[in-house]
């Protein structure tokens, strides 16, 4: 029998150079050097290095927060501080410290054959607090009313989780590539010199001085790498390699300090700029994304190709860049890379897409990048996103569908422009920033992280900062503001027995109609969103006070102008996103309550609540009725989908009501569920839709697994309707409505038979074009077959390269937990249950 693993996609067109880099990378901890978090300390007894508040959206980490906190401190290298270090402002201290550490302490390394310089960037740098700041900060985090305790309760009690997440933005790469950091440096100096003496002494002065210092960090580091290249060149015997190293040295003398002149320089500039953001934030690549790579690199590509660079060599440069992106994963390489700990990287790049007047912007580089994606796949980073729209050319779709057909998990996410732009224009309206997002510039949006839509270069979109478990509102409605089960803090094993300050919306047995039930549900939705706001607001104030990122602030418009750090609300567009989790489970639960209790009267409210409290045990018939007979979202059933839209409108409009107090950051809605829809399934109670405790919730905007019985088109149509559909005269882009400007993650797993020959590929292209018209914003397609997956589960050793994508991030199938493996297998088919 043919070995099943042979049907797994393999890499192709890989040169010896790239093959070496790949093989070396996969040696993992057996490499001579890698890129783990390297801690540095001011060597004070109060030093704080690990800031857990940017990690709270990874509940798997809760149990090891103290370990991180202590071990980084104990293993940190001390850095000799200059005189008057402690007299400087916090932001200046931090700017100096990080620059000193990366330029003068961290070793610089270049791998044989590598065409791009810049390694060893994962750093845990001292937060540079003085004693008083450390004390104040620790109280805010660890005090009895501190954010840590509040966060534990928020998550373990089933409300959600939130954090001031790093990254999740697209810096102004185009400006750096074109004009270099020198331009930023000069601009900052000009702005600084315009300050009054009073201002120079104050917060603005501190900030600008820190940013001026940070803007020279890439210059000084590039100089070191340039010298290293030259040293290697002198020792190099191979003539071609010697010339490459000399050229790299020359490249680094120019970029990123000055504007790039060749494609090679442009990619080198981009990598350096990007890598140092991860250094600055002490967090590797959480959605630090590249934006429209094929657009801003294209002039350099064209110029270099015209000047004689072969396309193959251009792709070789990109492949080196690809490998560098993967080194972000080295951060916790010694702790073990597993989902939930460090798989949360999303260095996303966007290609193709719409331009002004509906013109498609695909170019030669778009196709070259697609080749690189195809050649390198399977590989985890970077995460490509292909933007499709009504006028996407057939040539592009042919390539997209061919690549889908030849790999198991789609090697890219597909983003849909029309619905996405409708969301961003809605955001402009809701947040009163119609001067910043306009019909003329909305085309330039791109995605970050997994699939979250933002503007580029001036937008801290705060995607995934907040994740609210929507089904909590169902539970509280059924419990008259109380919970149906006793929740427990999994770290302390103490129960949360204190009564909630939730609205008492009435004994559900007294509700005369479903409308009464829904009114109570509305109040509970408002309550959980308010609780989320209160916690996030505290976290945001903490970050604004204690966690400046002056280097990143150089790369986002608005910070220099306002003299404010990006963490203090410096960006022109300031958002924090609330991602609605458990959406379809919540909608289906409302539909089930209506069906079981009010429409068909198959049970009383009291019986339903008893059934849920017993996790449906002893209620087999009612459970089956809830699960199989009650209407569901995802079947293109207009009544059920109308409920979905109603719930979407409800929770999303509630989100818009909030802004942070310290930074004036606007809350906005989006929908992805990372892995929370799985993990919360274990401790949140049974739901009226038939879900038992211990089973997963629905993922992002997807229907509950197995309920989309009417096939893929019906599933897609339901998603589009839940987002607002298309309504003449009231759309934000043409007649498209999108309640979720941040985007909505939609995953479909389809049978490979749908793509088996040319004829079927044509049909699938049309399916994608239909998705443009009827569907959501972001589609992740997995092409899997059940037998292969089951075999992979049993014999993981044969499938180490089997890559799947879940909610927009890649994972090696063999490395993810059994629950998620089962989940992917269950989702394989769209046939009935």
């Amino acid at each position: 029998m043919r070995k099943l693993s042979e049907s797994v996609k393999t890499r192709k067109n890989i040169s010896n150079r790239i093959q070496f880099l790949i093989d070396y990378y996969f040696k993992g901890v057996n490499r001579n050097w890698s890129n783990p978090f390297t801690p540095f300390t001011t060597d004070t007894e109060w030093d704080v290095i690990y800031d857990e508040t940017s990690n709270y959206i990874v509940p798997e980490k809760y149990e090891i927060l103290d370990k991180f906190k202590t071990s980084f401190r104990l293993s940190a290298y001390p850095i000799a501080l200059p005189d008057q270090f402690w007299e400087k402002s916090l932001v200046e201290r931090r700017s100096w410290f990080i620059k000193e550490a990366i330029v003068n302490y961290m070793p610089q390394e270049i791998l044989p054959g590598d065409l791009i310089a810049g390694a060893r960037f994962n750093m845990m740098a001292s937060r540079c607090f003085n004693e008083e700041e450390a004390c104040r900060r620790n109280y805010v985090v660890y005090g009895p009313e501190g954010v840590r305790n509040r966060e534990m309760e928020f998550h373990y009690r089933g409300f959600g989780n939130c954090t001031t997440a790093s990254g999740h933005l697209i810096p102004n790469h185009q400006e750096v590539i074109e004009k270099g950091f020198k331009h930023i440096y000069e601009d900052l100096n000009t702005k600084y010199n315009l300050l009054t003496e009073e201002e120079k002494k104050g917060q603005k002065g501190n900030q600008l001085r820190a940013m001026i210092n940070s803007s020279t960090m890439p210059r000084d580091l590039a100089e070191k790498y340039s010298k290293l290249c030259l040293e290697f060149a002198q020792e190099e015997e191979d003539k071609d390699r010697k010339n490459e190293l000399i050229q790299m040295s020359t490249n680094l003398k120019r970029v990123p300090w000055e504007g790039a002149e060749t494609f090679w320089e442009a990619v080198q500039s981009l990598w350096f700029t990007h890598m140092l953001i991860m250094t600055d934030e002490n967090y590797p690549g959480p959605g630090v994304s590249f934006g429209r790579l094929d657009q801003y690199l294209y002039p350099y590509w064209k110029k270099s190709v015209n000047e004689g660079m072969s396309e193959e060599f251009g792709k070789e440069i990109l492949k080196c860049f690809w490998m560098h992106c993967n080194t972000a994963y080295d951060a916790t390489i010694y702790e073990g890379n597993n989902q939930g700990i460090s798989a949360s990287f999303g260095q996303l790049l966007s290609i193709s897409g719409i331009g002004r007047n509906g013109i498609d912007l695909s170019n030669d580089l778009t196709y070259a990048i697609l080749d690189v994606i195809d050649d390198m796949n399977p590989i985890l980073e970077p995460k490509p996103s292909v933007r499709l729209h009504r006028n996407s050319p057939d040539k592009l779709l042919d390539k997209v569908v061919d690549m889908l057909a030849s790999s198991q998990g789609a090697p890219f996410l597909i983003n849909f422009d029309e619905r996405s732009m409708a969301g961003l224009l809605r955001q402009a309206r809701m947040a009163n920033i119609e001067h910043l997002i306009t019909p003329e510039n909305v085309y330039d949006y791109a995605s970050v992280g997994c699939m979250e839509n933002t503007m580029v270069g001036n937008d801290r979109s705060g995607t995934v900062d907040n994740n609210v478990y929507l089904s909590k509102a169902i539970e509280l409605t059924l419990g008259n503001g109380n919970e149906l089960v006793l929740y427990e803090n999994k770290l302390t094993h103490q129960s949360f027995s204190e009564e909630l300050d939730s609205p008492k919306t009435g004994d559900p047995n007294s509700f005369k109609s479903f409308e009464d039930f829904y009114k109570a549900f509305e109040k509970q939705i408002c309550y959980i969103i308010r609780r989320n706001y209160e916690l996030y607001d505290a976290l945001d104030t903490h970050r604004a006070t204690f966690c400046p990122t002056p280097y990143l602030s150089c790369l986002v418009k608005g910070c220099a102008e306002q003299g404010k750090d990006i963490t203090q609300g410096g960006a022109q567009i300031r958002m924090t996103t609330v991602e609605g989790v458990q959406f379809a489970s919540t909608v289906d639960s409302l539909l089930a309550v209506k069906y079981l209790v009010y429409d068909e009267k198959l049970c009383t409210m009291d019986e339903l609540i008893k059934a849920l409290k017993s996790n449906w045990r002893g209620f087999d018939i009612l459970h089956a009725q809830a699960k199989y007979r009650a209407p569901k979202y995802g079947r293109d059933d207009d009544e059920a989908d109308a409920m979905a839209e109603k719930v979407m409108a409800l929770w999303s409009s509630e989100v818009w009501k909030y802004k942070t107090t310290t930074t004036n950051v606007q809350f906005r809605p989006g929908m992805l569920s990372w892995n929370y829809w799985i993990t919360t399934g274990y401790f949140m109670p049974a739901l009226p839709d038939g879900r038992r405790q211990g089973e997963y919730f629905s993922n992002a905007i997807c229907p509950v697994d197995g309920t989309d019985t009417e096939g893929p088109t019906a599933n897609v149509n339901s998603v589009g309707k839940a987002l607002g559909g298309r309504k003449n005269g009231v759309g934000d882009f043409e007649d498209y409505i999108n309640y979720l400007p941040n985007g909505s993650s939609h995953t479909m797993t389809l049978s490979p038979a749908l793509l088996r020959d040319k004829n079927h590929k044509e049909k699938f292209k049309a399916f994608l074009r239909g998705y443009v018209e009827n569907g959501g914003t972001a589609l992740q397609i997995n092409m899997l077959d059940v037998d292969m997956l089951k075999d992979a589960q049993k014999n993981p050793e044969n499938y180490r390269n089997l890559l799947v994508r879940v909610t927009g991030y890649n994972a090696y199938f063999a490395s993810i937990g059994k629950e998620l493996q089962d989940e992917i297998i269950a989702r394989e088919s769209h046939s009935r249950f």
Binding site: D620, I621, Y628, A714, K763, F767, R769, G770, E773, N774
Partner: protein, 322 residues
């Protein structure tokens, strides 16, 4: 209102990619004038409704049994048994079954309800050059409904294909030709007696209608025509038969057939027969091999003298085993 405004619909399959060009919604009408021994949709042959029990959905709660006024349902160690002599198809059990494990196959639908479902996927038809396929059973046997439906779909600009075995009134077929965009016409067996043996009817009417369709298309330059031949072990899968069909096509339909599709036998309908308490002679029948299909396709190409129109579809043994 009037009876002829409703039809008995067996099933509606959305995002169908196997019944004509593009992405389609296939509507399966119940009732057929043939009774092919290999029929893949045995529940479609009769016009009357049929009781089906899905074992994998059943939780054995006996709700159906308790609610059956006629005591037609019992449970044995093999699961649910229905006494089809007693069962009146009243439908109470299907409405009461908490897991939807019982289905009464065949549902009366009016044109409006059908159009509503069909139009949901309009965007995909437009982008793919797809549309609706009326299949069965034999859709054209419910002619008044089908012709009215065709008119409505024409008004809405939806591409329509009619999948027919050709054993229908010539008059109805002519009217359908006026309104359809594509005819999927089955030619199964050329030998008159063998045809009768395997399908219950001889092929006189089918061949006569085929010629009529050909003449119509020659005169009107439309609709499009695909010929489909199911490749069934022992019944249709020999070169003589395929060559005879090819000769017929060459003689009577030269130049007007867009595609001649040889559809490979599959045994996925095995459990359907079991659910209907019917025996199926093909239960243990192997799939065709790729070599067999290639050979038959060669026969077809030679005999019809239009090699470009011939293709074979479906899964073969080789594909399945590996």
């Amino acid at each position: 209102m009037k009876q002829n405004n409703k039809a008995i619909i067996l099933d509606i399959q959305r995002m169908s990619t196997e019944d004509g060009p593009g992405i389609r919604t296939t509507v399966f009408f119940k009732g057929c004038s043939l009774a092919c021994a290999w029929c893949h949709n045995p529940e479609s042959i009769l016009f009357t409704q049929a009781f089906e029990w899905y074992q994998n959905r059943c939780i054995g709660c006996r709700t159906c049994m308790e609610n059956c006024k006629y005591s037609a349902i019992s449970f044995t160690k093999d699961g649910l048994k229905v006494d089809r002599q007693i069962c009146t198809l009243c439908g109470v059990c299907t409405k009461k079954c908490p897991t939807m494990a019982i289905e009464i196959k065949g549902k009366e639908m009016d044109i409006e309800a059908l159009i509503t479902i069909i139009m949901k996927d309009r965007a995909y038809y437009v982008k793919s050059g797809g549309g609706v396929t009326l299949s069965g059973g034999e859709a054209l046997l419910q002619s008044k409904f089908v012709l009215a439906l065709l008119e409505e779909l024409n008004r809405k600009g939806v591409h329509v294909a009619i999948d027919t075995a050709g054993h229908v009134s010539s008059n109805v077929l002519t009217q359908a030709l006026d309104l359809a965009d594509l005819i999927l016409y089955d030619l199964k067996i050329m030998d008159r007696e063998m045809h009768k043996k395997y399908t219950g009817k001889n092929n006189d009417l089918i061949l006569q209608n085929a010629c009529m369709v050909a003449n119509y298309i020659r005169q009107n330059k439309r609709p499009n025509l695909w010929i489909r031949t199911p490749i069934i072990p022992l019944a249709t899968d020999h070169c003589n038969n395929i060559a005879a069909i090819g000769n017929f096509i060459h003689k009577n339909m030269a130049g007007i057939v867009d595609r001649w599709e040889l559809c490979t036998f599959n045994n996925l309908c095995k459990d359907k027969y079991a659910r209907l308490d019917l025996l199926w002679n093909y239960s243990n029948c192997d799939l065709m091999t790729m070599e067999q299909m290639d050979k038959l396709a060669d026969c077809a190409r030679q005999s019809c003298e239009e090699p470009n129109i011939v293709l074979w579809t479906g899964s073969t043994k080789l594909n399945d085993k590996n």
